[in-house]
Symmetry: C2
DNA sequence: GACGCCTACTGTAGCGGTACAGTGATGAAG
DNA sequence: CTTCATCACTGTACCGCTACAGTAGGCGTC
């Protein structure tokens, strides 16, 4: 897609009255102190500890400050002197892009933001990647870190450790001594797979997510180098499927948004008898669903599709998705609460064991799954069929 | 507005000799300098300006630092000394929740994050609201601010001004002397409304968004206290509709996610002859669409529905939404670029005029609009019909 | 009227860095 | 053999604020 947007500079305005920033010396506590005729400390107290001076003097000081255009104590200086910055870092895989792109991640962070808001803590997005010698996890000021879904052996994590920052891991392999919040991915996946088994499916496809190679169809190596969630879910699925002797074919992709059709075709080519597909996420499931419909495969009559997460649109899609619910906002709230707890604990010098929280998952059966029917989907997939473009 | 600052709930984090006798003293540049037998300044250079010392000495110093468990120069101290924090603030209405909840906002921030990543700048989410005397816009350390979609007269904005922070306004009323990035909301809305006019619609409903009162149906007061985007779009719609003498009924809501049914019912009750609805966003449009379908109103046969934004799901919905496209990622990129430019400009002491950028919008005609048919939708809305719960 | 105990303010000593102007040694140019 | 630039490192002076330990005065107490 070529960027169709040509920026049009509508108007160029005079730079505004900058009040001669260069000439005027910066206003600090001392400036105000001199003007009012009190000590700098008293001015500091006027802003930060109102109970330490008389109301009248405080009013005088604030008035003087206002007159001088003082914007309040400098955050950086305050951070250094106080030893805390008032910000919690969220450490993310890749850049911060995923935090906003992925719907599940979005809801998670939204919940964190909501939980953190009343504490007045700011939220800083910290990419886990290093870049030209810049290591955000080492260089960004924060009081605590929330690590979401990155490599457990990422250098970012060890930097945080080195800095001695209170840390909470979310959707990651738990590490000794670090608090963590997880969901019962494995149990949920197992329940989803068992559901298909109970419906009578004997040939099941799996569409899962991994950033690393290998991608595509894998029949022999069930576990690859996927992240925690993908791994746990895979284990759960295979638990149930293998126990029931179901034939399983997995398709790994890096592309969770598109590629539903590619996954579907690859799976049905690899095993034409597949009658059901388990997906890593609802997004993937929806795309498989759309691909199937575009190809004239009836869901769930000819193909059952199962998602994961139970995002809001899982129930809007037609047929509504059978999926595994996880309470994403609750996960966010708990993670935020854990961070806050760590911060408070730090001030009281308590040393408590790191907590590990695991949230339950729940199978939600809707309309995208049914027992296998006689018409195998494979008959539908043939050269010359639509390519599923939409 | 008295700048009260209540001491943080976090309490005082251990730092320096406040850590207690039993604890190991904190490792600083001096610690390393003493160990290696060089000056503190040389150690600083080893980390921050490698070209200032010999490679061998640098290696020695880094080794010693590593051995002592030094995590690199303290970001807070560095920020104070250098005068820059390496973080860009994003100032948001409400808490940071909306940043993640709203799909358009998400994509916008995602693009910003992507654009900012290569610069190594961190992204800090700054709520615009004040809270128990905490004023994030005043108290959070940042080098520049990106203000998204908040009240133009929010105190947050004036704090930023007072601090003299480089600022970029996005989707807001432009302010003299401050850079801004906007999209041609008005033009896009006008095009959308004109499209309906051209199709022959004579009774059009509008579903728009505002956080403030009044909500519900308004026929007389076309412009309320909505934000910039909502206002511009309303103006654009009315431009075309009024010019064509079309009967217009508006429904204002705070709830863009649900409430599609409420909006639809209210509009059709207010004017049963309505054959088309213009919506503030695709989310709203989709919900109106769903509500209509649930009530057995055929779209577009009996009711045309138009969205705004052209979010990805606008084309996934059936019928695919006619909508107004804005290039949200491009908006994000431009906003980020503007911030970066301001930051660079600041270092070179140039004083350039504040730029105003306006991105184009484009009407995208899909399947949710058609000419009005004979069967008025009103016949369908009757007591006893389903309530549209989904 | 010495004593203690508030309240209201001040002085000092950092917090952990960085900028910048030295300083002495080295080697090349004149 | 100077002269002078360069390299590699050092010393000092901050950055702007806060913690904490004073200090001075007012006032009730016995």
């Amino acid at each position: 897609m070529p960027p169709l947007a040509i920026p049009s500079i509508i108007g160029i305005l005079p730079g505004g009255d900058r009040m001669g920033v260069h000439t005027m010396a910066r206003v600090t506590l001392q400036t105000i102190a001199d003007k009012v005729g009190v000590s700098r400390m008293t001015v500091s107290n006027a802003f930060s500890r109102p109970d330490q001076l008389s109301a009248t003097l405080r009013a005088t000081i604030l008035a003087a400050a206002d007159e001088l255009g003082y914007a309040g104590p400098d955050p950086a200086a305050r951070a250094l002197a106080r030893g805390s910055t008032g910000a919690v870092g969220i450490v993310l895989t890749d850049s911060a892009v995923t935090a906003f792109t992925d719907e599940v991640a979005s809801r998670f962070f939204g919940a964190i933001a909501g939980e953190l808001a009343p504490t007045g803590l700011a939220l800083t997005l910290v990419p886990a990647v290093e870049l030209e010698g810049r290591v955000p996890a080492r260089d960004v000021a924060m009081d605590a870190a929330l690590v979401y879904h990155c490599d457990p052996d990422s250098p970012a994590l060890s930097w945080l450790q080195k800095r001695g920052l209170p840390t909470v891991l979310v959707d990651q392999f738990p590490v000794d001594g670090i608090a963590s919040v997880n969901v019962a991915d494995r149990d949920g996946a197992r329940a989803a797979a068992q559901h298909l088994v109970d419906l009578g499916h004997r040939h099941v496809g799996i569409v899962t997510f991994t950033v690393h190679e290998p991608h595509g169809i894998t029949q022999s190596t069930p576990l690859g180098t996927e992240g925690y969630g993908a791994r746990e879910r895979m284990i759960g699925w295979l638990d149930a499927l293998n126990a029931a002797g179901v034939s399983t074919t997995a398709f790994r992709t890096r592309d969770s948004v598109d590629g539903g059709d590619a996954a579907l075709v690859a799976l049905l080519r690899a095993d034409p008898l597949i009658t059901a597909v388990l997906c890593f996420s609802d997004v993937m499931a929806a795309n498989v669903l759309f691909a199937a419909q575009d190809r004239g495969i009836a869901v769930p009559e000819q193909l059952s599709v199962v998602g994961f997460d139970d995002t809001p649109f899982a129930s809007r899609v037609r047929p509504a998705l059978t999926t595994v619910r996880q309470d994403v906002p609750e996960k966010g709230r708990l993670a935020a609460a854990a961070v806050i707890a760590l911060l408070e604990r730090g001030s009281t010098d308590e040393v408590l064991p790191a907590e590990r929280t695991v949230l339950p998952t729940e199978l939600v059966i809707r309309d995208s799954t049914a027992g296998p029917r006689t018409t195998p989907a494979e008959l539908i997939i043939a050269p010359g069929m639509g390519t599923g473009g939409r």
